[in-house]
Symmetry: C2
Subunit: 285 residues, 2 copies
């Protein structure tokens, strides 16, 4: 993509998980590739929104002519890291008709009666759509690992199953963008406190969030294993520093724009005779 | 709702279909209740977006505490009248996580194997959501009537079935906002021509649109009957002049805001002890 004013470097390779990456040592407060501060970040996000909306419309338009390509954004993070803000401020800037949003909560009894990818597969985006997973199949190797919801050999099996599944999606025309919003433990305390201190935020707070916070180290380990096992060339992970909301949003927008730009989307050609239809229209009452 | 600067009158009662309303005599070019022009309309839409987003968040927040209420916007119109623009510019201004969008196309074989409300019912919004129907169960008394897709006695039966269905939804906590975007035949020609004259709009054009245009009078009749039979006190129709896109968007936004304001949405009270959770959080690592 054209690097705008304050982008000093393409952030995608800087954020991508490569062999040797250590989550425990990664900064949650950095802003890789972006030289500006919050004000510049907010302005860059607004500018990028126009570009993202244009690319989304082209993707959608092409699907009407049989193009099977689609994009899937996978969002994972600890509580309060800002998944909701990404959906609202990044995804929310494109036409809702081109977005397929799926939030995966605690599995229902029906979902548990199937293999872990059953509920995931049915929510994958259709041709021309941008799909967004707010949590995903990775919960089945994260919370499931931390709390022992499945036996170790089943968790082991899942990493391979996930790689096969994602390879299959990619083969069917899906560009997969996997993002972990990386929040620091201190910043989480600040954000949880804000939810407790503001009456208009109480509904977002859940006492269970503090219990989960107690497993911070175990989650860091579980993410590390997930990265080691599932950051593939076809579907690499990106770890996006999320202590600064403006940067996380900007970075995810950038990753989406880059994924769409790699598709080289032109407006599709008409599959009818334009002059003939023009005449028919003008002849109509 | 607080009447903003250029609203001279609450448009809801002006747009509402009351006994004696005649679609064939209604203006598609008027802007009932709004004294400004396009520039003022666009500014008012931006101001209203903030209000709508706030109300949507309150609706969503309350559903987390068990509130069953939700809103359903039903959009019907002739081709090019601007349903897509309403979704993009009005609905698109609220958090996508609070929106459930359903576009009803030509029914599939599976859908046709059920009664006409089967596919509709399963797309009704959940608690706390704003549901949007881009086309709806009304297609089954509009296109179905115009083209004779069902026998007359079945069409007759459907008006009553629709009223029962909507009454049931309302009883379960759904505020129903039914909108017909009223476009003139001349303006449709202009918009179809634009789709033919711009390469980036070709994908939106379908030669079948000109065929449907040929049934304009029959559609007007079918809408009239639908209004006569299904504009009920619990779910009245609104006919929104749509030759000016800015007015149609503003009017639909107003109807949504008014529906939400009637719910008197406060932020829900915490269902946990705030001081106790605050202490737990501060004691955590």
């Amino acid at each position: 993509m054209t690097h705008q004013l304050y982008w000093t470097e393409d952030p995608a390779p800087l954020l991508r998980v490569e062999p040797g990456f250590r989550l425990a040592e990664a900064s949650a407060n950095a802003h890789p590739g972006f030289a500006g501060g919050k004000a510049e970040g907010v302005a860059a996000l607004a500018a990028g929104a126009t570009r993202l909306a244009d690319l989304q419309e082209r993707l959608f338009a092409n699907s009407r002519m049989g193009d099977q390509r689609r994009v899937l954004l996978v969002l994972q993070a600890m509580d309060t890291a800002g998944k909701g803000g990404i959906v609202k401020h990044v995804v929310g800037s494109v036409d809702p008709q081109g977005v397929q949003l799926a939030a995966f909560k605690k599995p229902t009894e029906e979902e548990l009666a199937h293999d872990f990818l059953w509920r995931i597969h049915r929510q994958t985006p259709g041709a021309g759509m941008i799909g967004v997973f707010d949590r995903s199949h990775y919960e089945d190797v994260l919370i499931a690992r931390v709390h022992g919801f499945a036996p170790p050999e089943e968790i082991e099996r899942r990493y391979g199953a996930i790689n096969d599944f994602e390879a299959e999606l990619a083969e069917a025309g899906t560009s997969i963008v996997k993002v972990m919003l990386h929040l620091s433990r201190d910043e989480q305390r600040v954000r949880l406190l804000e939810r407790l201190d503001r009456a208009d935020k109480h509904w977002k707070f859940n006492p269970g969030d503090i219990d989960e916070r107690g497993h911070w180290g175990a989650y860091t380990d579980a993410y590390q294993v997930a990265f080691d096992r599932t950051s593939t060339p076809i579907a690499p992970w990106h770890v996006v520093p999320a202590d600064r909301k403006w940067y996380a949003r900007l970075a995810v927008q950038h990753l989406l724009v880059a994924a769409l730009e790699r598709l080289h989307l032109e407006w599709p050609a008409a599959d009818f005779d334009v002059a003939e239809q023009r005449e028919r229209l003008l002849a109509s009452e």
